[in-house]
């Protein structure tokens, strides 16, 4: 339960207006720091919900697939250039960001990850590998300024951030083929 309390405190810290606006002032920090940290805060808060509503998770996320789908959908949504601009200019979208990332991504991810099979885990990694590679290419190669609130140089930086993450996922997936973790246990 202490974990859930830390998660809550962390969440409150992240949505404090000065903290939020500082993180949102730099494009890559907005997308690759603030958003993942919000997910992590939800991840930490998950045990609270799992304890309070065990029947809900057991009934509606029994095999973990709905939760993983929700996780993938919301993450994809927040990687659209438009949504970052909207979060900065429309208050309701900003609030939706603060709610959706912890509670519709972090919480279901934690609940689902423990339930889904290795195959589904790898499928999830592959989906993000494709998504991040595509987004990286988009943000780096686009001749246009995709976000009205951010400069094009920041956009290229963000693109390389995506490529870096995609590379990390790729390395992880490739090592799965060659390394059997059981050999090291």
């Amino acid at each position: 339960m202490t974990q859930a309390i830390f998660g809550l405190l962390f969440f409150v810290f992240l949505i404090l207006p000065p903290v939020a606006s500082l993180m949102e002032s730099i494009m890559i920090i907005h997308m690759h720091m603030q958003m993942p940290l919000l997910v992590i805060s939800g991840f930490l808060m998950a045990p609270f919900f799992q304890k309070k509503l065990p029947a809900f998770f057991e009934k509606w996320n029994q095999i973990g697939i709905p939760g993983i789908f929700l996780f993938i959908i919301i993450m994809s949504y927040w990687s659209i250039p438009r949504t970052m601009d909207d979060a900065l200019t429309i208050q309701a979208v900003e609030i939706f960001k603060f709610i959706s990332l912890p509670f519709l991504v972090g919480v279901p991810l934690r609940d689902s990850w423990a339930k889904i099979s290795t195959v589904w885990k790898n499928i999830t990694f592959i989906i993000f590998l494709i998504l991040f590679t595509a987004m990286g290419i988009l943000y780096i190669a686009s001749p246009d300024q995709l976000c009205n609130n951010y400069l094009r140089t920041e956009q290229v930086t963000l693109g390389w951030g995506f490529i870096t993450m995609a590379a990390a996922i790729l390395i992880y997936l490739v090592q799965l083929l060659f390394i059997n973790p059981a050999d090291y246990e």
């Binding site: 009934k59 509606w60 996320n61 029994q62 095999i63 697939i65 709905p66 789908f69 929700l70 959908i73 919301i74 949504y77 659209i80 250039p81 438009r82 949504t83 601009d85 909207d86 200019t89 246009d144 300024q145 995709l146 976000c147 009205n148 609130n149 951010y150 400069l151 094009r152």
Partner: protein, 209 residues
Amino acid sequence: MIKNWRNMVAITIVLAFGVGLFFFGTDGFQAFTAETARTKKLLEEKPQFPNVTLEDSKERVYSFSEFDGKYVFITFIYTACTDVCPQLEMNMNEVYEQIPKEFIGEDIIFLSISFDPEQDDPKTLEKYRGFFGSDGETWRMARIPNQEELDSLLNEFGVIVIPEDDGNFTHNSAFYLVNPDGYLEEVMDYTKIDEAAETVRAILDGTEE
């Protein structure tokens, strides 16, 4: 499978939610960047061009209503800009060249508006004008000296200007066409010169008949 009906329901709900989210977040899968959303909204709303006071490269001061009864082809620029503005103005020049001469000055006026009134005084604009084949009459370059008026215009037209550290600005660019009644008529992609010229010509031809 019977036992898993809840999973199917949950998956369906999640997917439906996802489709709905993307649908509303992108104006029906049409606007994936804020810029396309902005253009789309502008064309739907067709706002009135605020009656701002302009000061042009010939140091003449007049309000926007000076152009009543004429179409006005507008771009937003600043002269210290090194990347997109010269491109924007060169493309504007090409559109200008493609419009039949009988319309120029009579039915349509070209206007480059600077959003950097501090640096872009009439003298600077006069010099800049020369680079792009603007004659200062049928294609004018002007600044809006009043910052409040400028801000309200940029806001109304959704032009977002981000000042950079080195005195430059980043901004979203487009061709704007304001109709003789002073309302926004078209927002055009500034990289598609022929398309823009064709659109403007068709509108001008329409007024002839």
